[in-house]
């Protein structure tokens, strides 16, 4: 199998990033992903159903996520739902995106610091 360069997907689309971040910690179903993103972003980002599954379809086609063979414990499981998890490739892509965003934040903080010190005029 030819190895795809993770950089091919960077920068990640916003919805893809949120979905992949949601399932980074473990498999999750669509409703769970939607709720997790809503809570994490304090209501600022809502993944609407059609958009969510459209993105899920494309993420699966891109090989970044897959339907999970494993399911949570029976008391936590919802038989109607399908669970998704990151693929190894997906994990590498997510790591690369997180690194990019962190680099961006570091650059912004550095600039703000220098402005405060009066070293750079706005």
């Amino acid at each position: 199998m030819t190895r795809v360069n993770p950089q091919k997907f960077i920068p990640l689309k916003t919805h893809w990033f949120h979905i992949m971040l949601s399932i980074a910690g473990g498999e999750q179903h669509g409703y769970g992903i939607m709720q997790e993103v809503l809570n994490r972003t304090t209501g600022k980002v809502r993944l609407w159903p059609a958009t969510l599954y459209g993105s899920v379809k494309r993420l699966i086609e891109a090989g970044l996520i897959e339907e999970s063979a494993e399911r949570p414990a029976p008391e936590l499981d919802d038989a109607r739902r399908r669970y998704y998890c990151l693929t190894p490739m997906g994990r590498r892509v997510l790591d690369a995106e997180c690194e990019r965003l962190q680099e961006l934040v570091r650059t912004i903080q550095e600039k703000q610091g220098r402005v405060k010190q009066g070293l750079v005029t706005e």
Partner: protein, 912 residues
């Protein structure tokens, strides 16, 4: 799925939203629905109440909008995938793809070229003219040329406010010798333009792109001369100078100031003869000989064309009736006119908002002809591709059966197969557009030698692009739908059992493929014959036979009035010019004329003869050529009766009180006087009486037509106001005396001795003049011939494909027959039999269709009648073309049929 009983006040809203959501979820593409449909429904059900509670109606709208937008996006995504799949499939079959692209490219290219050149010329509104749809002009009669009237008549028409919002007067094809600011005394260029009344632009509804156009208030008699230039003049001759407005030009020796530039692509009314300059008729008469002799106030000076804009709610028929009554009244008031007692219509109006005003009766015939031609060409290409796709579809039958049996929807598979056809068609469309561009450039290159310029600059604009694109989509859908439906027919069991080598039902019966093949052969033959008729007609008709070597005659034109001469000085020049040129020692015969010999652009006039047999007055439409002394002797034409024109005839003065001499050709003499003697008889038009002094044989023009012609003598009037091409001088030298180049330079030197400032125009031998006209005709022949060959090639490809496929399909059957003892000849005969039947039926239908279509087109449009008449009576073509098609078609069947005899029965049966 059951929803929990709602308990909130937004229940109704949620219920309504849920119903819409569910409907939209069903609309997703089949594959998406299979994979995620249930999840989308489940998730929607889970969140709808929460959204209603938290966000109210706005949230529900947002939920619906999300799914409503997503549905078409998923279809688009599938179509993108289909296109990628189709591209891979085409790359895997480069031969098929190439044939398909070439077929569609030729079809779309030829069709787009015909559309953008002919259709645009005939039917598209004049660019820049806002009133194009309301413009009308007068015809002399229903079948003939535009009618010229005096300016007095136009002023009377203008008074009819209930009929017209405006009536403008103009003359077109007016030559100007132009020199430019910064080089006003340099050698002039000859530029064609129009003389227009001040309201011309407002009647047409044309606004300038820069500066101003003429107006009745701003431009009056006695004002300094102004000129409006066309966009083309501004770009080509002034390099789009931003300072063009206010620049000075010298027109025919007079200073004029540029005041405005017309919109892009506007070249005046009657744009088939494009005009680059527009000069008001209020300009001084010295600026244009057409304005001399106070022409605006001469009631019988029928010099102007009337452009009328219909008033709102007025139909062309009612305007015609109203104008007819007015014209009748004005004619009766005109004492100089011969009294007309006929009660028939004197005025016919035709729509004039296009480059070429087309008579109303002719329009449907023309539209029909072009639609039929374009339709045939594109239908051929589509049929060919449909056949090829059917064969391809049949080869994939097992694959498609497997896909259908595991749950693929038929609609999805049909869409995927159609993507291949649409992609092929669009690639063909791109190739076709490039071909149309190339053909357009070639069209512009091959211009016939005419006095007036003809518009050949048919740009491929967005109209043509949209046309080509739309055609490609329609064709792609058209030729791929039937094969896709055929290939996905649900007979899964037999398809899975027998595999791809499935006998398609109906091969020995009337099936779709056989029908397509018959129609293709018929259409190919129709196209071949129709184009063959035209080619034969054009080439046979245009062989001009001169009674001398055309390379011993030199043609040149002079226009001294537009070089600044007065009328008297110009007459003096032409009187002494023959003697001067004879003094070079190179000249055997010399004559003057108002037009080049064998012209296909003569004037037309209506003549009546009072001395016709049976003492009834005969009125004929004849062509008019104006020629000088010794014209026929210069052409080495003996008079059939009477005499040639002589010098005293040139010195005559044309007025209503004395009769001028005239020469008739055979057709005209016969038309007026039957087999009786025409000499000494009189004919007249509405201005002048003529005594017939000679009869000459019919001479064909450059288009191969022999028509009734009256030859009138050149007079002082013609010298004072030379026609658009100037006065043509025909100089014939002795054969073998000197090479043409020597004669040309001797003449040039002699004219320079007379006056070095005289501008010589169009100097060439008669041979090169005839060759140039034939080159343009040859190009027409090649284009039509190419279209015919295109049809032939496509039919051959189609037939070869069908036969090759049939051989592949019947491999098992052929193998069994061979194993049981069938000879090679029997096997070949078996395969060829069906192909021969298809070709035979198609040939018969095509022949009948072509002959019928030719008759219909001829009866509707004189335009094609002559060429088609010659062509449809050509036995070589009537027998040859069907035979050629049949031979090519049978050859196309024979080559793949030979593969049948090479089938190894053991191998074939074992492979099963």
């Amino acid at each position: 799925m059951n929803r929990p009983t709602p308990s909130t006040s937004s229940t109704r809203q949620s219920g309504f939203a849920w119903r819409i959501y569910r409907r939209l979820a069903q609309a997703f593409p089949h594959e998406f629905k299979l994979a995620y449909g249930a999840d989308v429904m489940q998730l929607g059900e889970d969140v709808i109440d929460e959204i209603a509670k938290r966000h109210g109606a706005a949230g529900l709208v947002r939920l619906i909008a999300d799914i409503a937008i997503r549905v078409p996006l998923e279809y688009l995504s599938e179509m993108r995938g289909d296109m990628r799949y189709a591209m891979r499939a085409l790359l895997k079959s480069p031969g098929f793809a190439l044939v398909g692209i070439i077929s569609m490219g030729l079809g779309i290219g030829l069709t787009t070229n015909v559309y953008s050149s002919k259709w645009a010329m005939l039917f598209r509104d004049l660019p820049g003219a806002a009133n194009a749809k309301d413009l009308v002009m007068m015809q002399q009669s229903a079948d003939s040329d535009l009618a010229a009237v005096s300016y007095y008549y136009i002023e009377q028409f203008r008074e009819q406010k209930s009929l017209f919002t405006g009536v403008a007067a103009f003359e077109t094809g007016i030559p100007f010798n132009v020199t430019f600011q910064g080089n006003l005394s340099g050698k002039p260029e000859r530029v064609f333009g129009q003389l227009v009344s001040p309201d011309y632009f407002s009647v047409l509804g044309v606004q300038p792109q820069r500066g101003r156009v003429f107006s009745a208030t701003a431009d009056r008699s006695g004002d300094a001369p102004f000129v409006v230039i066309s966009d083309r003049f501004w770009r080509n001759r002034l390099n789009s100078s931003p300072n063009a407005i206010g620049q000075i030009l010298r027109l025919n020796g007079q200073i004029a100031t540029i005041v405005g530039i017309t919109p892009k692509n506007f070249n005046g009314a009657l744009a088939i003869n494009p005009s680059e300059l527009f000069v008001s008729i209020t300009a001084p008469a010295a600026l244009a000989p057409e304005l001399a002799n106070d022409v605006l106030h001469q009631r019988n000076a029928k010099e102007f064309l009337a452009m009328m804009c219909l008033a709102p709610g007025v139909t062309i028929e009612s305007a015609e009736a109203g104008l007819d009554a007015i014209t009748r009244r004005l004619d009766e008031q005109d004492s100089s006119m011969a009294k007309r007692t006929d009660q028939g219509r004197r005025v016919t109006l035709l729509p004039a908002g296009t480059s070429v005003p087309i008579p109303r009766k002719l329009k449907p015939a023309l539209i029909g002809f072009f639609v039929a031609l374009m339709g045939l060409v594109i239908a051929l290409a589509c049929m060919n591709l449909a056949n090829m796709l059917m064969a391809r579809g049949a080869n994939r039958r097992k694959e498609l059966a497997i896909r259908l049996s595991v749950g693929a929807s038929r609609f999805r598979l049909v869409r995927q197969m159609m993507s291949e056809g649409i992609l092929l068609s669009m690639l063909g469309g791109v190739a076709g557009f490039a071909l149309a561009f190339g053909l357009g450039a070639l069209n512009a290159h091959f211009r016939p030698p005419t006095t007036l310029q003809f518009e050949t600059n048919f740009y491929l604009d967005w109209h043509a692009g949209l046309f080509a694109f739309g055609l490609a989509i329609i064709c792609g859908v058209g030729f791929s739908l039937a094969p896709a439906l055929q290939a996905t027919k649900a007979d899964l069991t037999s398809a899975l059992k027998e595999g791809s080598a499935l006998q398609l039902p109906g091969y020995r019966r009337i099936g779709l493929r056989n029908l397509l093949m018959v129609v293709q052969v018929a259409a190919s033959l129709m196209l071949l014959l129709m184009t063959g008729f035209l080619v034969m007609g054009i080439s046979k008709g245009t062989n001009i036979q001169t009674k001398f070597d055309p390379s011993t005659m030199v043609l040149l034109s002079l226009d001294p009035v537009r070089d600044g001469y007065s009328a008297e000085k110009a007459q003096g020049l032409f009187e002494k010019l023959p003697e001067h040129l004879k003094s070079t020692g190179q000249v055997r015969n010399i004559a003057l004329a108002a037009q080049p010999p064998f012209t296909s652009e003569p004037e037309r006039t209506s003549l009546s003869a009072e001395d016709s047999p049976g003492s009834s007055q005969v009125v004929q439409q004849v062509l008019e050529e104006t020629v000088g002394a010794g014209y026929f002797a210069t052409l080495n034409e003996s008079m059939l009766a009477g005499r040639d024109f002589a010098l005293p005839d040139e010195r005559s003065y044309a007025d209503a009180s004395n009769a001028l001499p005239a020469v008739l050709n055979e057709s005209a003499a016969r038309g007026f006087f039957g087999n009786g003697n025409a000499l000494g008889k009189r004919v007249r038009d509405d201005k002048q009486t003529y005594d017939v002094v000679g009869v000459v044989r019919d001479m064909k023009d450059l288009e191969g037509l022999s028509q009734s012609i009256i030859y009138l003598p050149l007079t002082s009037r013609d010298f004072a106001r030379p026609p658009g091409g100037g006065i043509t001088i025909l100089v014939r030298s002795d054969a073998g005396a000197s090479p043409a180049t020597d004669v040309l330079s001797a003449i040039r030197n002699e004219i320079a001795l007379i006056d070095p400032n005289l501008n010589i125009v169009n100097m060439q031998t008669l041979r090169s003049y005839l060759d140039r006209s034939r080159a343009a005709l040859r190009f027409s022949i090649q284009t039509y011939g190419g279209i015919g060959v295109f049809g032939l090639v496509l039919a051959a490809i189609g037939l070869a494909g069908v036969t090759a496929y049939a051989v592949a399909q019947r491999r098992k059957e052929i193998a069994i027959r061979t194993a049981l003892g069938a000879s090679r000849a029997q096997v070949l005969g078996l395969v060829l039999r069906e192909g021969t039947a298809l070709v035979g039926v198609g040939t018969l239908l095509g022949f009948l269709g072509a002959v019928g279509l030719a008759k219909v087109v001829s009866s509707l449009a004189n335009l094609f009648a002559d060429a088609l008449k010659i062509g449809t009576n050509d036995p070589l073509l009537l027998v040859g073309a069907p035979s050629l098609l049949a031979a090519v078609a049978l050859l196309a069947c024979y080559v793949p049929a030979r593969r049948a005899v090479k089938i190894d029965p053991l191998k074939a049966l074992r492979d099963e």
